[in-house]
């Protein structure tokens, strides 16, 4: 009954504070603030809560100043001011109007005394105050902070806030905060039991921590409930952790797919070991950097479109470089794969050093457009937008490539040249032309991958180096000459990596994956999806 009265009282105060404006409220506030100056330390608690109960936004700076020790009383008339130190003098600020009220020498002022108990009271009062703010996000923040650092004193304020809260999200957090706070308070077991049930439904870490600490000094009846609730929360958390891991694995898989898919064309379809593949990815990333530089300097409004502009440009740039490499070097080396490996390695060194000479050896800044920044929650998962977009992008590129190879005349020619060069040539296909275009296509896709990877990785001359070994592993693991193999290879390596990580650590996990691939190659030297038939030996 008492509690209900209290809630009513707080609600009433709120109503008054929001609806009654004018000098009376201001005078009251001024008087209340002045009382802080004369109160004994033991009375401060009460004064602070009566201040807080006004619910007036002006109270917030006053309380903050009190907590910081910036609240002073004028010795001559006992009026209390907020102060700022200005040299030897103090700049006075009227607490009610918020206006400057002249200066005073330090000797004329006396600091309002605070101790830790007062500071604590200030903190919980402040939390309670922002719970009634007009701004939804401020309320949400206050509720979350109450949930993170529960304090039994704030229980009444939380309950009052729940009574007036309209916003569902804030309300949910408040309910949880109430449950957490309630467990710390002296309420009845029945109420605590309800709180435990509520907490068990959530999956918060705070809930778990509070329950664990409550377990220590709970009586036997409550203990069972708490233990059950803890078990339930841990189970939910394990579930969501596994879910998060799956998400990370998919994300890594998509990155691997992006990096490897161009290689699946050049190595998988054409049989060329292109060690400069990683550098194509790097060139794509640097194209993004250049596009963003131009946009930043000349058309800042277009920043959100920067990736869309960079994508075709990167394809063109790296495709052209790829074409030049094929025409200039690789075409003389067909049928000598090991020599191709060496020559393309040389090209990769040249490209790296060229980029280093032009752009410098340090990381260059590539920004996220607004639609790729931030994250959202899905159940207990945190999903970042950039990772999500990269998965979508990787799958789109994969689908487009598959379509190109399987459904277009160009793709038909590419496959024909791959399967039987001489026969294709006899049928009137210009094999050198197809070779050059295929290599340019593979390089161009690597460049597009670079645009995407610039969003999650450091753009430096060494960017490509980090991907080259992984990409080769994906293609070899998946099976050469098969795009589906690359897809399966990329995602299975991603999943394997992320699921080994919790047990073995990141580096050891990676080593284990490499060892597993080496062993796997012994078992299936041609990868998961091996080509069968005469094409194999050619």
């Amino acid at each position: 009954m008492y509690r209900i009265l209290q809630i009513l009282f707080v609600a009433l105060c709120l109503l008054i504070s929001t609806h009654v404006v004018g000098s009376r409220a201001a005078d009251d506030l001024g008087a209340l603030v002045d009382q802080l100056g004369v109160a004994k330390l033991s009375d401060m608690d009460e004064r602070i809560s009566s201040l807080a109960k006004t619910g007036d936004a002006k109270v917030i700076p006053v309380l903050e100043a009190l907590g910081e020790g910036e609240l002073y009383q004028r010795k001559s008339d006992g009026k209390v001011f907020l102060v700022k130190v200005q040299g030897a003098d103090l700049l006075l600020i009227d607490p009610v109007t918020g206006m400057e009220a002249g200066q005073a020498p330090k000797a004329a002022m006396q600091k309002v005394k605070v101790n830790n108990a007062v500071r604590r009271a200030v903190r919980s009062a402040l939390g309670g105050l922002t719970l009634f703010s007009d701004d939804t996000s401020a309320r949400l923040k206050a509720a979350q902070s109450m949930l993170q650092t529960p304090n039994a004193d704030a229980l009444d304020a939380i309950e009052a806030a729940i009574a007036t809260e309209k916003d569902a999200t804030v309300r949910k957090v408040l309910d949880e905060a109430r449950a957490v706070t309630l467990l710390l308070s002296e309420r009845s077991d029945e109420e605590k039991r309800q709180a435990i049930t509520l907490l068990a439904k959530g999956n918060g870490r705070t809930g778990l921590a509070v329950l664990t600490s409550a377990l220590a000094n709970a009586d036997a009846a409550l203990k069972l409930d708490i233990e059950a609730a803890i078990a339930r929360i841990e189970q939910t958390q394990a579930f969501w952790n596994a879910g998060q891991n799956v998400w990370y694995a998919l994300s890594l898989g998509s990155v691997l797919l992006l990096a490897a898919i161009g290689l699946a064309i050049t190595f998988g379809v054409m049989g060329i070991i292109n060690m400069a593949h990683g550098e194509m990815v790097m060139l794509g990333a640097y194209t993004t950097f250049l596009v963003q530089e131009v946009i930043r300097n000349s058309y800042p409004g277009l920043f959100d479109w920067s990736l869309a502009i960079a994508l075709p440009l990167a394809f063109l740039v790296t495709g052209t470089v790829g074409l030049a490499i094929e025409r200039g070097v690789i075409r003389f080396l067909y049928g000598r794969p090991l020599e191709t490996l060496l020559a393309t390695w040389g090209i990769s060194l040249i490209l790296q050093q060229a980029v280093r000479s032009i752009f410098g050896p340090t990381n260059r800044e590539v920004g996220n457009p607004s639609w790729m920044a931030g994250a959202f929650d899905l159940g207990g998962l945190t999903i970042t937008w950039n990772r999500l977009w990269i998965i979508v992008f990787a799958l789109t590129v994969f689908a487009a490539l598959l379509f190109l190879l399987k459904k277009t005349p160009m793709g038909l020619r590419m496959r024909a040249v791959t399967q039987n060069r001489r026969m294709a040539s006899s049928m009137g296909i210009r094999t050198p032309f197809v070779d050059a275009l295929t290599f340019a296509l593979g390089s161009g896709i690597a460049g597009m991958a670079g645009v995407a990877l610039s969003q999650i990785d450091n753009v430096s001359p060494n960017l490509g180096q980090g991907y080259i070994i992984d990409s080769f592993m994906v293609v070899v693991f998946g099976g050469v000459g098969n795009l589906w193999g690359t897809l399966v290879g990329a995602f299975s390596l991603g999943i394997l990596n992320k699921f080994l990580e919790p047990y073995a650590g990141a580096v050891l996990g990676k080593i284990l994956v490499l060892v597993l691939i080496i062993l796997f190659i012994q078992k299936k030297p041609r990868g998961l999806f091996a080509l069968k038939g005469r094409a194999v030996e050619a």
């Binding site: 390695w345 060194l349 050093q353």
Partner: protein, 386 residues
């Protein structure tokens, strides 16, 4: 018998190179130790160490040539064997420091004290003895190559696939040696060596002896490789390189032949690493970088794969060029190296020595033909370079 087996292998070019190496092993230490520093013929100590380093690189390139040039296995992981040999030697040198480290622990190397290790890990036992370390220098790379090769060749992983998984092997080792928990000094590797066999490792005399040892070991391995290549087994090795399936159908166990060459080659690479570490004074996981292994391939390619002298010439040429270039125009070294890769594969597939050898062989054949007054052009074929 063994001597005659080895002697048979010495044709003219090998003999010349061995003679040069023996001469260097005597001359360079003598010029370093016996002449005054201002004497015009004096060789400063840093040059002795630098050329000693080149000789160990040459040995590594020779080891690679045995598998790549004569067996067609392009290993992109030979730097791993080199680094393992180096680590074995480094562990011996670490144990030699004893209580003179900055923490003064008589048993544990400094980095272990720093990481709060209480006792020596089991795999460090025995490395206080030189003979044990020397054994490990050949054994560890040898066993790794044997196991790796046994699996790979048995399941007929060849060509580029083999290259890629050897690269994966050295990459995995790189990651592993970077970990502090492995007990090999992590990121910093092993360094701050003091003594080798009781001699101060910084002293001019020790450096000169190490140089001589590198030259002698290179000469020895050159003779050994030549003997292997000229033997009956060597003929089969080349047959495997040129027509693997045909050799198999003729009844040879191709996997055993490859495995032998691969293991011997890895052991030679290990020896090269062991000689490299005391002259350079440090071994760290950077030696496992996949890029290093590929660089070894280019030394061999520049000199001429499939020739025994070529890799030695190539290693010294490329590394000499690197030393000059990185000092004079550091920006351009990678351009030069990259260009070298491209140009050599496009225009000099036989390498410097191979091309020169082919040229001289043609000249000889032409002269002979003219002397016989039988201008039968069809018979003139460039001899296979060796």
């Amino acid at each position: 018998m063994i001597t005659s087996f080895l002697m048979k292998s010495l044709d003219r070019s090998i003999l010349i190179v061995v003679a040069i190496l023996l001469g260097l092993a005597l001359l360079v230490p003598a010029l370093n130790l016996l002449t005054a520093p201002n004497h015009p013929l004096h060789v400063p100590t840093y040059l002795v160490s630098l050329f000693g380093k080149y000789l160990t690189y040459a040995l590594l390139a020779l080891a690679l040539d045995l598998v790549w040039g004569f067996c067609g296995i392009l290993s992109l992981g030979h730097a791993a064997f080199f680094a393992l040999g180096g680590y074995a030697m480094g562990m011996y040198l670490m144990r030699q420091i004893g209580a003179r480290g900055s923490y003064g622990n008589p048993l544990l190397p400094d980095f272990m004290v720093f990481l709060n290790w209480k006792e020596l890990p089991w795999f460090w036992y025995g490395f206080d003895m030189f003979w044990f370390a020397a054994l490990m220098v050949v054994l560890v790379p040898g066993v790794l190559a044997f196991v790796f090769g046994w699996f790979a060749f048995r399941s007929r992983v060849n060509g580029v696939y083999l290259s890629i998984i050897t690269q994966a092997m050295t990459y995995a080792l790189l990651l592993a040696f970077f970990r502090n928990d492995m007990g090999f000094g992590g990121n910093n590797g092993l360094t701050d060596f003091k003594d080798i066999l009781g001699f101060n490792i910084q002293a001019d005399g020790t450096r000169a002896v190490l140089f001589a040892a590198s030259a002698l070991m290179l000469a020895l391995c050159l003779i050994l490789t030549a003997a292997i290549v000229r033997s009956k087994y060597g003929k089969v090795l080349v047959a495997v390189r040129d027509a693997e399936s045909r050799t198999r159908f003729l009844g040879y166990r191709v996997e055993h032949i490859k495995l032998f060459a691969f293991t011997v080659s890895a052991m030679m690479a290990g020896i090269a690493g062991a000689l490299y570490v005391p002259q350079v004074g440090i071994i760290n996981p950077g030696e496992f970088e996949p890029g290093n292994s590929i660089e070894v391939v280019i030394w061999t390619a520049v000199g001429g794969r499939g020739t025994l002298v070529g890799p030695i010439v190539g290693a010294i040429l490329v590394n000499g060029g690197k030393s000059i270039f990185t000092a004079a125009f550091p920006e351009f070294w990678l351009f030069a190296l990259g260009g070298l890769f491209v140009l050599v594969t496009l225009f000099l597939p036989k390498g410097v020595v191979g091309t020169a050898g082919a040229y001289f062989a043609r000249r000889r054949a032409e002269r002979k033909a003219r002397a016989n007054e039988a201008p039968d052009n069809l018979a003139i074929e460039p001899m296979a370079a060796e």
